[in-house]
Symmetry: C2
């Protein structure tokens, strides 16, 4: 059995920063990522990131390259394309599969940095749409839909921002929200309600996404169960994110939305398991800076127990 | 009277990050710095910074350039070489002097990012030494003192790290600590006690730094008041840092060491005054990442009140 002081799960900005800090403090560590490559949510950021101080005017991929170069220059330890097996929190061990062989590791501390994923509608046609890669960024892809009709689903800032960006580019938007109360900021709500090319439908749910080779229409339903079809060229689902914490459900305390409950250092209800980044940040705000800051605070904190 | 939504005091990494986030969220802001230039503690970092994810292998000045370029590219608002006047927390106004003219500003929120300064011994000869710019970094300047004698004052990690680095380069070190208990980590203490070229003096205080054009000796005193002189070529004072919060002493709550007491968003005991970075981070850890993360969390939090 291999012994590692700190095992980090998840190779997004938070996990990468944790590995960098382990190296900085001389801590034996291993970062594990299930996907082909490290980078996490950075891969999905298609617009310019202007809010990570010191690295302006970069899209997610540029930032990802900077982070990975840093990790490699420091010779941090990581492994990708792994499949996580069991976590035994009592014995502080975990298993993972890599290239058909099972690895058993004993950890002093486990840092969970598995992030969050976009929440799905869970309706017929959605997974087909995603498999066809019909996943759009309002800021980058708006031009594709000029003069066309696009559905935006959700009632928060991201949904409203998306609707406004599309509208700016001459797209006809139907904004569909299941409630009549919006969580979005007022300065987004006001213009959205005034735009001629944005139709707001409250108390409506999308029940199905239709289309053969690509999205062609959606079926929506009102509160009374009345149903009708709307022709659209794309559906942007903006109903929030979901912490990737299912695998810890019976191991540490989670809040109602699935965030790992941590103290101000990042330690969960079980002292050998910690969490940083979007899997736990509630009630704070999500950003690359906050994730890397949390990583530093936590690793420095854990280092006082390791030496 | 000028009205500004968020006034930021202090142009180090925390203050710069706060200005960037204000711009990002469209908040009317002004960053004020008393010194000639922005950059704060980045200016003093002479060794390679390996722990700000995405920007590896840079000294403080390189990082400073990256941060300032970012600030300028976003057209953030700032003013340097100012002298802060009064803060009237009830009317939420402050004055500052710039080029002989007094400016009066009304703020919605004041973000204090004035950082911390190295704690001084407060003994004769110390300010003369600092004025002669005899301020050394153990990692960068050790080679200057090979075969010579240097005093390191303090009992924490930074003092021990300094003593070990100098010792590595063949410098004869006298480590002087006023107590017999060290706060430093064990992996620093153990080698320090074993090195032949490190002499550890506990229960001793430095009472005076002597020398005409440069440091030549120090006078130390033991617990019984016995005094003697030690010839040294330099004195490295490593007795911690002091939050730059004196100007807020009777305005917001400070802890025993002078840190501004804040909630988890960064808001002080007075809701219109907030603090980020080394002026408040206790009991957390200080780093560039944590400062920028705090800036983001706080500005995003304040933005919900501004709109």
């Amino acid at each position: 059995m291999k012994k590692v002081d700190i095992v980090i799960l998840g190779g997004g900005p938070a996990g990468i920063a944790a590995a960098i800090w382990c190296k900085r403090l001389g801590i034996n560590h291993l970062l594990l990522e299930e996907r082909e490559e490290l980078g996490g949510q950075l891969k999905q950021i298609k617009n310019i990131v202007m809010d990570y101080p010191g690295l302006n005017n970069m899209v997610g991929k540029d930032l990802e390259r900077q982070f990975l170069t840093h990790l490699d220059e420091l010779n941090c330890h990581y492994d990708t394309r792994i499949t996580l097996g069991d976590i035994n929190a009592d014995s502080q061990t975990l298993t993972y599969l890599k290239d058909d062989s099972t690895n058993l590791i004993h950890y002093q501390f486990l840092i969970v940095a598995t992030g969050a994923s976009p929440r799905r509608l869970g309706i017929p046609g959605e997974s087909e749409m995603l498999q066809r890669n019909e996943i759009y960024s309002a800021s980058v892809d708006a031009y594709r839909f000029e003069g066309k009709h696009v559905a935006v689903v959700g009632g928060g800032d991201r949904a409203l921002e998306g609707a406004l960006l599309l509208s700016d580019h001459g797209v006809n938007v139907t904004l569909i929200h299941r409630s009549e109360r919006f969580r979005a900021r007022m300065e987004l709500m006001e213009p959205a309600l005034q735009r001629e090319n944005i139709t707001v439908l409250t108390n409506h749910r999308v029940k199905e996404i239709m289309g053969v080779d690509r999205v062609s229409s959606i079926r929506i339903e009102d509160e009374q169960g009345g149903s009708n079809n709307v022709d659209v060229s794309a559906v942007l689902v903006r109903i929030g994110v979901q912490p990737n914490s299912d695998f810890l459900k019976h191991i540490v305390e989670l809040d109602a939305e699935g965030h790992i409950v941590t103290d101000s250092f990042g330690v969960s209800s079980r002292s050998s398991i910690c969490a940083i980044g979007d899997v736990c940040t509630k009630p704070f705000y999500s950003s690359i800076s906050t994730s890397t800051g949390q990583a530093m605070t936590l690793v420095k904190h854990l280092s006082t127990y390791l030496h």
